[in-house]
């Protein structure tokens, strides 16, 4: 009973946690470039400002897709926190991504189309690897349920380190970080599929970005089940890794990204799967 209250509370404050992660990330990134950087609460200031802007709408379906992107991502996170099926969580996350892609294709803006196209390519790059990681977790623990994965006696990191490396390789694709930020690419497609959203409708997309951080770090937390020190080390380490990578690399094009995902990350995940089976 006590546990479910904590879980529900965690679900409700997860956008706030994600906003704090995003704020800290902007600060850390600025410090890496020797800038002062915005205040840590900056994402919430942006949130308050976007709420006051006058809402402009392209058409109702477009706005609906944007809001449903946020809602389905939150739902996926809720299933993950409540200890549901890992495969279901991954497919709900894919659903939320595809809603954003549909939203991008529903307008006539060429940048929106390009961004939606690139989002689909990014999903193609990371989704198979996530599913293979989920299958190898099943091979080790004997269950797809997140609650029983978390109750597994030894941390999964020791059982399948290659899967963690594969996850680290695709996290920049998932979080839209350089060098794999082709779907957002502010200098090329100006934000991609989210370009036509404004005001309160952009707020849904902006908050969904925060939820994405929570989702990714929750996936990392799975690898260090119930070991507080190890999970802290893993989450902090991957946070610093992603930001350092984001600051130090230039953007690749989509062919190079696909070649990397299927030539490097995918074989690592497959080898890991074979090792867990044998």
């Amino acid at each position: 009973m006590n546990k479910i209250i904590i879980q529900l509370l965690l679900i409700f404050i997860s956008p706030v946690i994600g906003g704090l992660i995003y704020g800290i990330e902007r600060k850390v990134k600025a410090r890496m470039q020797r800038r002062i950087g915005p205040p840590i609460l900056q994402p919430f200031y942006d949130f308050l400002k976007l709420a006051d802007k006058r809402a402009m709408i392209v058409h109702s379906t477009h706005a609906f897709f944007g809001i449903m992107h946020f809602v389905s991502l939150w739902f996926a996170l809720a299933v993950l926190i409540l200890g549901g099926d890992l495969i279901l969580v991954i497919f709900l996350h894919l659903l939320s991504t595809s809603l954003l892609i549909l939203g991008g294709f529903s307008t006539r803006s060429i940048f929106s189309h390009l961004g939606a196209n690139r989002s689909a390519i990014s999903a193609l790059a990371y989704e198979p690897i996530l599913i293979i990681i989920a299958v190898s977790i099943y091979m080790v623990t004997g269950s797809f349920d997140v609650s029983s994965i978390l109750n597994y006696p030894t941390p999964l990191l020791y059982k399948m380190p290659l899967a963690f490396i594969a996850l680290l390789l695709i996290l920049p694709v998932k979080l839209k970080k350089s060098p794999f930020d082709i779907s957002e690419a502010h200098q090329e497609v100006v934000g991609g599929a989210e370009i036509e959203y404004s005001g309160i409708f952009y707020e849904a997309i902006y908050t969904a970005k925060w939820l994405d951080y929570v989702f990714c770090y929750a996936l990392i937390y799975l690898f260090a089940a119930n070991n507080i020190v190890l999970s802290f080390v893993l989450i902090t380490g991957s946070f610093l890794y992603i930001n350092a990578l984001d600051n130090s690399t230039a953007r690749v094009n989509y062919k190079q990204m696909l070649r990397f995902a299927f030539g490097v990350a995918f074989p690592i995940a497959i080898i890991n799967l074979l090792m867990t089976i044998l």
Partner: protein
């Protein structure tokens, strides 16, 4: 807690080059770079008119860019502020009177802040943008204020007597 006082802390900038010589653009990029770092005020160079608050224009208006300026201005949601960066965008500058130049930006869209200089220094640009944030806050308050009309609106044909109403407002 008064949440509305936080909204002036995140002005997002749209930078448009309407035919500049690139001098002012380099200075704007210098503002984003580590030395001046305007991101500490919460500013982001979005490049997207639908999500930005401040329109930062450099360069004189050329015949090709005037429709784009009006289009970009129309696509920005209220409240919005226009900052002219450099002498050329304020008045036309050294290019004034040339066959392909229309003059300053204020001939086509309402301008709130003029930043002088050729090219304007990063300190001046930051100063101008900080003034623009104050104007943005004022416009935000104006949008929320309810106004009592001195003249009753009359619809003749498809037109409202809006000029008459606007004339009696202040």
């Amino acid at each position: 807690m008064e949440l509305k006082k936080f909204r002036k802390k995140s002005p997002w900038i749209l930078h448009y080059n309407s035919g500049s010589c690139n001098g002012c653009d380099i200075e704007i990029l210098a503002c984003l770079a580590p030395k001046y770092d305007i991101e500490r005020f919460g500013m982001i160079n979005t490049g997207n008119p639908k999500q930005s608050d401040i329109l930062l224009i450099t360069g004189p208006v050329t015949k090709r860019s005037r429709e784009r300026i009006v289009e970009l201005y129309a696509q920005m949601p209220e409240p919005k502020v226009v900052v002219c960066c450099g002498t050329c965008s304020s008045t036309g500058g050294i290019f004034r009177g040339m066959y392909n130049i229309e003059g300053g930006v204020d001939q086509y869209i309402p301008v709130d802040v003029y930043v002088a200089g050729c090219a304007s220094r990063p300190e001046q640009i930051i100063d101008g943008v900080i003034v623009a944030i104050g104007i943005l806050e004022e416009k935000n308050k104006d949008l929320e204020k309810s106004v009592k009309l001195a003249v009753n609106p009359v619809i003749e044909g498809s037109q409202v007597n809006r000029r008459e109403i606007a004339g009696k407002l202040k």
